[in-house]
Every structure is written in C-alpha cells, then in structure tokens.
C-alpha cells in the first residue's frame, strides 16, 4: 500500500496527482526548484523538498536528487507525471532500487518504447501499421519530419520542406533533443500533411488485463505541440475505433505493459492509420478521457501500481469532452513564450478543479456502459455485462446533461511563470452530451476567464473552438497553418473601449493615491486648456484617450487607434447639460453628430477589419458584438473605480474589469480581453534603444553565437540563439550592416529587454543603395 507519494514533477500535473492522493488518503510530497519555491504545487503538498537550482538538468531531471528527496520525506512511491523523467526507464529503475513503488510501467516496457526507432519496430512486428523510417543522411523526397527518438511534446521536431533546410534542421533538432531529453538521436519519416492525430489511452494491470479506451483526437496542433484535444474523435467511426483500440491493446500486450500509457496514431485518410509512438506515461490530455469515461486515471494508476486488478471492463464512454491548453505564449509573435507574473487567474463558473463531471462515477465504481457498441466492447472484445443501464438512458438528472467545465491549472494569482520550464499555464476541459455543446462551453469559459500577466494563446483557442472547420469536425494537424494569427483577438473597437476603461481606471487610482490636494475634484481646472491625455499601446496599435474631468465624472474628448477618431464627446467642464439623455440615444448619436464631434470622422474600424477565421463563424458573436454598440456611437463613462469601469454605448451599459501592474493593464469585458501597455508620458531618453540594437525578447540563456564583432551581416542573418522556455529563439540582424557590439557570450543569462548586440548600418551599403 502506498502511504505517501512523491510527484517528480511540477505545475498542473503535480497538483493533479496530489488531488487524487488526497482523495485516496495518500500523503503528498512535492519537489521544487528555485524558481518554483512559491509555486502552487509546493504549497499544496504535505511535504516539499527543495531541488537547488533552476535548470531542469539539476532539478526535475535529477533522478538521484529526487529519489533522495522521496526517501528523506518518507515517501514510499513516486509518480513521474508527464515530461521530465516520466519516460526515463533509468529513473524508474532508480526508484525501484531504492525500495519505492514506481507509479508507472515496468522499466523494461519503458525502455522498449523509449526510443521511437525501436518502438516502431516492435509495433510493426505486432501487426500495427507504421510509416517508413528514413535515413536522415539519405532523404531525397520532401517534405519530411525530423523527430527526436527520445522526444515528445514537439521538442526536437522539425518539418523539412527541402534539401537545403535539412542540415540546419537536423543540427538544431539534435541540439534541442539533447537539451530536452539528454539524447540527441533523431530520425526522419515522411511528413503527412492534412493528417489527424488520434491516440488511444491504454491501461494494463499486473495480471495482463488491458483496457483500451475511447480514442482522443489531438489534431489541433501548432509546431507539433497539441493545442486542443478531444474525445471521442469526430473523424473516427465505430469500425475504425475498434481497429485502433485493438491495435493499441495488442501493442501494450506485446511489450508486457502495465499502468497507463498512450498509443499515438496518425490517420492519413479514412480507415488508414499509422503508429506514431507509445507514450509510456500519463498524457497531458488525459482529462478528456476521464470526463468521457468517468474515470480517474491517476487513481487507476495508483491501483495498478499497488497490484490491484482492473475490473473486467472499463466504464462506458458518454458524451464529449474537449481540452484546451492555455499557454503563456504570444501566437501573434511567433508563439513567443511570455514569462510573467500572473496578476489574475480566474475562470468563472468552473465546475471542478482536476475533478470529474457529476453523474460519472470515479473508478472503481460499478461499470456502466452506453448503448454504443464501440464503447460496450473492451479491447479484448468482451461484451459489457448484461442488465446495466446506460447513463444516456437516464435523461431525468440535469446534472448529468448540463455542460461541465473543469480546470487543471498549474498557476494561481501570484505565480511567476518562469522562463525555465514549459509555458503551459493550465488546461481547461469541457464535457457535454454533445460535441457542439462542449465546444461552446469551453469557448465561453476561455473567453470569460480573467488571465492577467503573461500573454496567452487564449484568443487563438477561442477562435479555433468557434471555427466552423473545427465545429464540423474537420480539423487536421494543418488547421492553424491557414490562420492569420495577427487577426485573432480583440479588434480595434475592443481595444479602444478597453483603453478608455483603463484610462479612467488609472485616473481613479491616481486620485485615490493622491497625497496633495487629494480631496479636490480630479483633474479640476478653473481655466480649461486641454483634455487629459493617456496613451496605450495595444495589439491594434497606439490608442490615445482624451478626457475631461467634470463635476459629474469624466467625459470622453477623444478616443482613437492609429489616427482614426471613433467618437467621443467634448463638453465644457462646467456645462450642466453634458449628461443630457439625448447623448445616450442611439438614433441621435448615429444620425446627428453634435457640433462637438463635427470634426470626428466615423470609424472605418468595423468596415475595415478583415474577418478573422473566428469572425467568419456566426457561432462566435459575443454579446457586445451583437449589440448596437457596434454602431459608431460615443462611449459615456457612467462609473469608474481603479478596478471596474462602466461604459455606456448607444444606451447599453458594459462592465470593464481592469487589473494593472506597472505600466501594463488588462481589461476584460464583453468585447474580449485586451492587454494594454501605458505609454510613459515623459520617457527617460535612455529607454529608447538605438536603431540596430538587438534586445532579448525574453529571459533566457545564450546557447550559440553565430557572428563576431566586425562581421558584415545581411538582413535576417542569424546573430545568436537564445534558449528560453525550452525553445530556441533565433536573434537575427534587423538590417544589413556590421556587428558593432556583442554584449553576451555563450552561456550568458539575459533578461527580457537586455541589449544583446548592436548592428550598425553599413554606410557603404547605404551609399550604394542611394546611388
């Protein structure tokens, strides 16, 4: 029996495992690195052991230290989570050698599947179809995909479209694989475009019983990193489902698998699938299976590790679950990771954290089956026991059928997202009887979430979940290739209104914090010369907000993005008529601009904005966008505090929630979430970097330098490579010139904004161009 369990991991998966432990009465032990000292997973554990350092190699990849930690903290079992040491058979052996229970498959099975090259051979001999493996040195047909043999999570993976890219991609993939997995071996396979990524969760007990559960579809990816996963797959019918599950079960049996694992397949065309790899661990996306089957996979892992047998057949699948991975990264900026303090993190109306939908019973509850043949059949083909009632035939209980939202989060308000580790903040999982309902619930949950701090991929996730292609089940792994990632997210109007809200929230905060003349009305003037001006940088450009303080509050004098005036009213500060109801009338606002706005042109913002993929979908129209607020009407500030602003547009009032930190502001409203950066009124001159300065885009370490001072560089030529958040980031020359300064050496640790190098314009070049 396990009495205390150490999770050799961090973030949401550590919390996920702890949650099951707590419910099972098992003590919890966390390990943590320097940057994670204040992390939620540490705070939640009964005991915690410090792993000095920050780099994964000396912390979460340091098996020796982790085993020592387990022994020191009195743990008798180790759960590896996913990533880090989860698929390291050497670590599993260390754990077992220390007399601890290993919550995972036997090291031999791990070893057999650890190297993808080896796994493919075993799969092939077990009758599972595999793609041909290509010799990296002799590839002639493109495109191909380079994969790290020891890899996962997209790391060490490179798509190569031509022979000229091959050598560089191989080197880079090897380096990344070496850094991430300690093994630089890579291989190539043909790159299937338009394929779907489908995987089968397997569970096997020590007696050799194997469950293969309903498949997961992980086709929505970017850079080979899964973004949205769901179960069941909209592209898999009963027949294919049966074949996939049988293939997965036979492979698990062939390697004597025990515990939880996942067999990944690529579906190239109808009914045609290829084995990709066998992940000998719990997957990030395991919650969708949990929600569909009503089964706690971590609990099953613990039971198997303690020698308990699996019941004869798994609980039936019912309904549809979708998971979205929320990353601290900026899709509009090449998915650049965003290490930042989390100032707010809240998803309204979440039904459970790490938990299962009501109406599902946690394992090992009496198994129920649905009437669907595919899920009544276990991998071994046994029929479900007779007489059991499917949940789907019990429509009377609302709780079973109302959509359900689950949050698996590694961060909370106050968590620092470190550049040292994976940028995933949280997973949001919805379950509903139908796929459409699940997608709608998840999109709404993401859209209404308050996430302030790091830039996230939230808007992209919402766009995908509201994308018609996704909604009809047509998404393959190339879905995001067609996305204009810069058009995702708030439009100009949303940015403007959010900037207005931020401006007046700041005004309110300024008055609250004022020490001198603090009780005099804000912005009061006996001689009014000009409005207050506050400017912000937004995703849609610079926004100038001009406003007047009046005895009744604040009136808008101007509001524009990039030179486009979109309304506003300017009223003398002392005119008691400024709050006349006429100004709130949509008809008047639309048809008869008052003299005050005679010079303000109607906004072309709406007409101009190109429909993003998201906007093409009628399903995604938010309340704000469906309202008359879309009209070119003047916003009126009704009430404002430092954290909340009410703005009326054409007679409709909207609430804007504002959170600020330093010069950043995050504004959430019915118009979406907008991140704003307040423009310094009086910037210090040194803040303006010289042209040609290369600044670190994020904290990280310099892993390679490709140019020396004095080198002549072409525009776009690589200068150095920065590693941050497990990804390589290339820093290239912004223009043709000479490398005038190099401020870093290999191994330098840099902070965001640090000057790395300066490329001076080559004067001879300039002259040549002029001639």
């Amino acid at each position: 029996m396990i009495s205390s369990l150490l999770v050799a991991n961090r973030g949401e998966i550590a919390r996920r495992v702890f949650r099951t432990c707590r419910r099972a009465g098992i003590g919890t032990v966390a390990v943590f690195s320097d940057p994670d000292a204040q992390a939620p997973h540490v705070a939640e554990a009964d005991r915690a052991v410090w792993l000095p350092g920050a780099a994964p190699a000396v912390t979460y990849l340091n098996g020796e230290a982790i085993v020592a930690a387990a022994l020191a903290a009195g743990a008798d079992a180790v759960h590896p989570g996913y990533g880090f040491l989860a698929e390291d058979h050497g670590f599993a052996r260390q754990v077992l050698a220390a007399g601890l229970t290993w919550v995972g498959p036997p090291p031999s099975a791990m070893e057999a599947m650890a190297l993808k090259i080896n796994a493919r051979k075993i799969a092939s001999s077990a009758g599972v179809p595999v793609l041909p493996e290509l010799d990296p040195a002799a590839v002639t047909t493109f495109p191909v995909l380079i994969k790290a043999s020891a890899g996962g999570g997209g790391r060490g993976m490179r798509a190569v479209r031509g022979a000229d890219e091959l050598a560089g991609a191989l080197e880079s993939a090897r380096r990344e694989a070496q850094s991430a997995f300690g093994d630089g071996t890579v291989f190539c396979e043909p790159l299937l475009t338009g394929a779907r990524h489908v995987e089968v969760q397997v569970l096997a007990d020590q007696a050799g019983s194997v469950w293969a559960l309903t498949e997961r579809d992980c086709s929505v990816q970017r850079r080979y990193q899964k973004l949205i996963e769901e179960s069941p797959s909209p592209a898999v019918g009963p027949a294919l489902r049966g074949r996939l599950r049988a293939a997965a079960a036979s492979l698990a049996s062939a390697v004597g698998y025990q515990g939880a694992g996942t067999v990944e397949f690529l579906i190239a065309a109808a009914d045609e699938f290829y084995f990709l790899e066998f992940n000998t661990r719990l997957q990030v996306e395991h919650p969708v299976t949990e929600c569909v089957h009503g089964i706690d996979l971590v609990a099953v892992q613990l039971d198997i590790a303690q020698g308990l047998p699996l019941p004869a057949c798994p609980p039936a699948a019912y309904g549809h679950a979708i998971e979205a991975r929320l990353y601290a990264e900026d899709p509009a900026d090449g998915f650049r990771p965003s290490a930042h303090l989390v100032h707010a993190f809240a998803v309204p109306d979440v039904d459970a954290r790490f938990g299962l939908p009501p109406g599902h019973s946690a394992f090992p509850a009496p198994a129920e089956t649905s009437q669907k043949p595919s899920s009544r059949t276990t991998a071994s083909g046994q029929p479900a026991p007779p007489g059991q009632v499917s949940r789907s035939s019990q429509p009377g209980l609302a709780g079973q059928h109302s959509p359900f939202l689950r949050l698996d989060s590694g961060v909370e308000r106050g968590t620092m997202v470190s550049p040292h580790y994976d940028a995933m903040l949280a997973k949001l999982i919805s379950w509903a009887p139908s796929r459409d309902a699940a997608a709608r619930r998840l999109a709404a949950g993401l859209a209404s979430a308050r996430i302030c701090g790091p830039v996230t991929n939230r808007d992209l996730l919402v766009s995908v979940l509201r994308d018609q292609v996704f909604l009809v089940g047509g998404a393959d792994t190339s879905l995001l290739d067609g996305y204009d990632l810069t058009s995702v997210g708030p439009d100009e109007r949303a940015c403007e209104l959010s900037a207005l809200a931020a401006a007046v929230a700041i005004a309110a905060a300024n008055r609250r914090s004022a020490q001198a003349a603090a009780t005099i009305p804000g912005g009061w003037r006996n001689v009014v010369s000009q409005p207050q001006l506050r400017s912000f940088d937004s995703q849609r450009g610079r926004i100038d907000v001009r406003y007047h303080w009046t005895p009744a509050g604040i009136t808008v004098a101007g509001l524009r993005v990039a030179g486009i005036t979109t309304g506003g009213q300017s009223t003398p500060a002392t005119d008691p008529a400024q709050a006349s109801p006429a100004q709130a009338s949509p008809a008047q606002a639309d048809s008869k601009p008052s003299p005050a706005q005679a010079d303000s042109k109607p906004s072309p913002a709406q007409a101009d904005s190109k429909p993003s993929p998201a906007q093409a979908s009628p399903a995604q129209a938010s309340p704000a966008q469906a309202s008359p607020a879309r009209a070119d009407s003047k916003p009126r500030v009704i009430a404002f505090t430092p954290s909340q602003v009410t703005i009326e547009i054409a007679g409709v009032r909207f609430r804007f929630d504002v959170i600020r930190a330093g010069d950043l502001a995050w504004v959430d409203s019915a118009f979406g979430s907008v991140r704003l950066s307040e423009v310094e009124r009086l910037p210090a001159p040194s803040q303006a970097a010289d042209a040609g300065s290369l600044l670190a885009p994020m904290p990280g370490s310099v892993i390679r330098i490709e140019a020396a001072p004095g080198d002549r560089l072409m525009a776009g030529q690589l200068v150095l490579v920065l590693e941050a958040m497990k990804m390589e980031h290339q820093i290239a020359a912004p223009a043709t010139g000479v490398l005038a300064e190099l401020r870093v050496v290999r191994g330098s640790q840099v902070n965001a904004g640090d000057l790395l190098a300066v490329v001076a314009a080559d004067e001879s070049d300039v002259i040549a161009e002029e001639l």
């Binding site: 005004a507 003349a517 009780t519 009305p521 009744a552 404002f640």
Partner: protein, 629 residues
C-alpha cells in the same frame, strides 16, 4: 456640540433658516428643499429633551422662481464674457505664432504645465486675466498656478513664448512677482518654466527698476528654505539669465536653452569678440563648463521629467496643521452627488448638501440689493455645516466656523452690505478668536462700507471700524478673500481687501470694488462742483454737470469691474462661482504647506507642535494695535 445652549431664532433682518425645526421658514413657494441634517442632539441624557443646536444650514433659495432665473441668467452672461477673456489667454500669441512654435518641435506653455503636474491632479491657475484692459495681451504672457507635482503642492510660473517672444511687460512682471509672493508666503516650491526674450523694451521704464525684485525674491526664497527650480526651454537672456542664475536647481535642454548675459551681436558691439549662441550660452556649455546647468535634458519631455524628479527628491513636507482631526459633522458622504468621483468612500470630507450650480442664482444683478451669504456658505463648506457665532449681534455681518475640504476655517461674510459699530466689534472679536486657536479666516465680501451719518459718527463708527481694521491688519492666521458682490469704501479694507495681503483673493464675475459706487461718486463730485460754483457766485452748468456725471459714472463703473481689477493683479483671478469650493480648497491645500494654519482643533489644544520634523503650526496673533475704546 452637544449640550450647548439653544439659541433663539435670529432677530436680525436675516433668517437663520435652519433654526426651530425649519418652522417659520420663508419658503417662497419653490420646490422642496433638503432640510438640514441635525448634529448630535441628545447629549447622552436619555429622556431629557434638548432642543438641538443646529449648525447645518438650510436653504431657502427658490430655484424655481423668476428672481433666481434672472440672477442666474445674468451670471451666466458674465461667465460667457469671462470665458471669452480666458480664451484670449489660452490662445497665447495666436494661431500663427503657436504654429510656428510647434513647428520648432516645442510644446505650448500649457502643454508644458499639464505634463509637469501629476496626471489627473487639480490645477489652480492664477491671474489668467493679467493685462486685461491695459493694451497688453490678456494673460500676462504666461501661466501661473498652483499644482501638484509628485504629490507636492508647488507654485508654477511659466512664460508663454508665443506671446511676443515671452517678453516681460509691466503686467507679466506683476504676475511673476505675485507668484513669488504666493510661493514665499505659503512655502511652495517654485518651478519656473523659462523661455523669454527679456523685457518689453518700449515699457522698460515700468519693468527695469521693479524687475530686480524677481532675482531678490528668488534668492530670498532659497534662503528661507523654499526650493526654486528653473527649467529653461529656450532663451533666457540678459536679466532673464539671472532666473536660472538665482535658482537652486537648473535644467537646460540640449540645443534649445540659451542663457547668456549678452547675445553674439551685443558681445560684438561691446568687445568685438566673435561668438555664437552655443558657446555663449548653450545648454551643453552650461552643463559642462560654466556649471550653470545642473541637468542637461535631451528634449522638453526630458526636462519636464527631470523637473518632476527634482521635486520628488525635495523631501518636502507640509508644515501646516493639516485637516481637522475632529469634525463637527460625521463625514463619509463622499463628494456631493457625483457618482464617479474616483474617490474612496469616506476618504473625502462631506461635500455641501446643496448643488454648487445654484451659486449662479444668488447674487442680484443690481449689487445694491443685498443677499444672504449663508446661501453661499451652504454651497461651499463641508456638509453645509456652519456654526454661527454671535448670530443675534451685529447681524449685518455673519461670522462662524466651518470646514472646507476638511480644513477648519472661520468665515466673515457681509449680510446687508453696511458695517455698523456692532458688526465692527463683532468682527474684531471673531478675528481674535480665530487667532487664539489658529484657524484661517475666509472673508466673503459684499459691502458698501462703514455706516455714515451723524448718529453713527457720534456713536464712534470710526473707532469701531478702526478696531476691525486693526484686528484684520495684525491677524496672523492665513486670510482668504472672495469678493462676491460689492466692495466699496473702507469696507474693502475691513474685509481684508488686497492691501491687507490675504494669502489669496478672488472675485466673482459681477463683483465690483471701488472707493464708492459710481453713482455716489459722481453725485459727490456734482455736489462739490455745485458748492464751488455757489461759493464763486456763478451759475451752475446743469448740462455740463449731467455730462460729467454720466462720464464719471461710466468710467468708475468700468474701473470697478472685477475683470479690470484682475487685469491689474488686484486679485488672483475671477472665478466661476461654482468653482469657489475647489478654488478655496486648493488655496487651503497650499496654505497647509507653510506653518501658520490651524493650531489645534475646534476647542483644541492650540499652540505649536513640539519636536523637529513634526508639523509646526504657529499660533495666531497675540498682539494687536491699541484697540481704541
């Protein structure tokens, strides 16, 4: 206040509208008015019925009536005139020169000021009408005002280079000197935004000799421990060069600031030396060689940023006594009815119970008609709470205690224009009381002067008027004066007119100040002329007399106007009545920077606080001239 004796309803000609449960109010049939709140009444003794000592004013202003409407219309017309004059000051040197200025990449003077002060903070501009009626541009070619920089109340004085190159004329000189007087008296750090071509040479005779005071005052302020900061945006030549020269901190802008005693042409004339602007007085030279510049700014924004950071490092603290620790009223109602003030509940003193907008309908079109100053007080003091002193005695002058933006004040307000012996003695006593407890005084002027006539002379009106003037003159607490209506004769002196150096003096737009009313003055001249003609035995030319009277009346009328007097710096500005509370609040905030305000609390301990670094309030006056008895 509980336990104070009940006072009888006023027997004066003016009502105490709140008294006696509002019964007997002369409601003129207007809409229902809010009735005053009642302060602590039961004195802690359970069943004993004590008639409350009500200090919250009730208003009987009939805002639905014709009289209110016509007074309001007249005041709004005056405010339009005021806005038109302010617009002249705001326009600076006009579009052509403003455009040229901008084309040089420069900020206008008001943009500079707005960027210098804290965002969303209030700003009280002083003497915006300087120069009105003098032939020189309205505004005195600059902006003076009290503003908040890095949470420090400061005096800002900025020249407007679009107005004749920012050159100093006699009125801008007076405006500058006045700004320095305010900074000195109230202990406000002074920030000069310098860009001036020097003296207006045609009027140099009015400027050169008195202008020396600027430099003397600058160094005297420094000696008094009041920091002076010069941000030099452009030319600061000849005499102007001593502004940075005399300032404690000097910021110059690279490539922009030019500070020299003589420019290249004059140097060539004087010594034959060939030179250029940059070597004679460039910012870089002054920062690196002469040491006249302490900071070299990259551009105007940088200079303003440096200026703000200098203020932040002044380690400035107010030496006044601050707000009342105890209030007669429980506060927490927030600021009046405004829904979104951005202020935390409870952090602000209670605003007046009545709408400031109604201040527009109080002052009669004809200043000969008296009005009840309590209607004004009810709309400017915290919670409309006014604890009247000696209400039954000398009823033509209202005296009492109140708080404004939390600062305790004593108020003297003319109620029926004329000051009699009893009003004079009441004023003298009240001023002494304010000095005893160190509370600033607010004078609300609407006076035709001291009563004349045989019986009054025989009763000693001069003696009693002298008592009042004696008390005002020797009072040591800060004085604030607002001319609401008339300010005639020695009433102007007794009620702390300009010559009595109130810390601040403002006028409402229709106010008038003169030795006497225009008609009276013309009439006096007529009588004197008639007597002279009779003495010579000549016939009196009635036609010429009428013409003379009309002309004199017109001239005196024009020269009594608030705008005209404001143009000559006889006040600190003509204000919108609705702004009165904010204007006075800014003044009290400024006054609190210096020692000398309130010394304890209502009935408090008094006397200066002990210990270094703590707020040190000076006691009020303990010595006066001999009161003639």
């Amino acid at each position: 206040m509980a336990g104070q004796p009940f006072r009888l309803p006023g027997s004066s000609g003016f009502r105490r509208p709140t008294r006696d449960h509002n019964r007997g109010r002369r409601d003129q049939g207007g809409r229902a008015r809010p009735t005053g709140r009642v302060t602590a009444a039961d004195g802690g003794s359970g069943g004993e019925h004590i008639v409350p000592h009500v200090t919250v004013l009730a208003s009987s202003l009939d805002t639905g009536g014709q009289q209110y409407a016509s007074r309001r219309a007249a005041m709004l017309a005056k405010l339009d005139e005021l806005a038109a004059e302010h617009a002249k000051a705001l326009a600076g040197g006009g579009p052509k020169y403003v455009e040229r200025h901008r084309a040089r990449g420069k900020l206008t003077v008001r943009e500079r000021v707005e960027l210098l002060i804290d965002p969303d903070s209030p700003f009280l501009e002083l003497s915006p009408l300087a120069g009105y009626g003098t032939g020189f541009p309205v505004g005195g070619s600059g902006v003076n005002g009290i503003g908040v920089i890095r949470d420090t109340i400061c005096m800002i004085s900025a020249s407007d280079p679009t107005v004749r190159g920012g050159s100093t004329n006699p009125w801008s000189l007076r405006k500058s000197i006045r700004s320095m007087q305010i900074a000195m008296e109230n202990r406000l750090p002074l920030i000069n935004l310098v860009e001036s071509g020097g003296a207006d040479l045609p009027t140099q005779k009015e400027i050169f000799i008195p202008g020396g005071q600027i430099f003397r005052d600058l160094t005297a302020m420094s000696a008094a421990g009041i920091p002076t900061i010069a941000l030099v945006f452009g030319n600061s030549t000849a005499g102007g060069a001593y502004v940075p020269g005399m300032s404690d901190y000097v910021v110059m802008i690279d490539g922009r600031s030019k500070v020299f005693l003589a420019g290249p042409p004059l140097v060539k004339m004087a010594t034959g030396e060939e030179s250029d602007d940059e070597s004679l007085g460039g910012a870089s030279m002054h920062a690196r060689q002469s040491g006249l510049a302490d900071f070299l700014a990259e551009d105007e924004h940088d200079a303003l940023r440096i200026g703000r950071s200098i203020v932040a490092r002044l380690n400035w603290r107010n030496l006044g006594a601050g707000r009342a620790l105890r209030s007669a009223l429980s506060t927490g109602a927030g600021l009046s009815a405004s829904g979104g003030t951005g202020l935390a509940p409870g952090s602000a003193p209670a605003g007046p119970l009545y709408d400031a907008d109604e201040l527009l309908g109080i002052v009669p079109e004809d200043l000969k008609v008296p009005f009840d100053p309590r209607e004004v007080i009810a709309r400017i003091v915290d919670g409309s709470d006014f604890d009247e002193f000696k209400p039954l005695y000398g009823a033509s002058l209202v005296t009492g205690w109140a708080a404004l933006h939390g600062y305790p004040i004593g108020i003297l307000a003319n109620a029926r224009g004329v000051l009699f012996s009893s009003e004079s003695q009441k004023a003298a006593q009240f001023i002494q009381l304010a000095n005893q407890i160190g509370v600033p005084l607010l004078f609300l002027q609407n006076t035709t002067g001291y009563m004349v006539g045989a019986s009054y002379e025989q009763a000693g009106i001069i003696k009693h008027g002298a008592m009042m003037i004696n008390a005002v003159s020797n009072s040591r607490v800060p004085h604030l004066t607002v001319v609401l209506g008339a300010s005639y004769g020695a009433g102007n002196y007794g009620m702390c007119g300009r010559a009595y150096d109130p810390r601040f003096l403002f006028s409402w737009p229709s106010a008038k100040s003169a030795v006497m009313g225009p008609a009276q003055l013309a009439g006096v001249l007529s009588i004197v002329g008639r007597q002279a003609a009779a003495a010579r035995g000549e016939p009196y030319d009635e036609a010429a007399d009428a013409a003379m009277r009309a002309m004199v009346e017109e001239q005196i009328e024009a020269e009594s106007q608030a705008f005209f007097l404001s143009g000559r710096l006889y006040d600190d500005g003509v204000i919108d009545p609705r702004d009165t509370r904010s204007v006075l609040g800014m003044c009290l905030s400024a006054i609190d920077s210096a020692p000398g305000g309130w010394a304890g609390g209502p009935g408090g301990s008094g006397g200066p606080a002990q210990g270094s670094g703590s707020r040190t309030a000076l006691p009020g006056a303990s010595r006066y001239g001999i009161f003639r008895m």
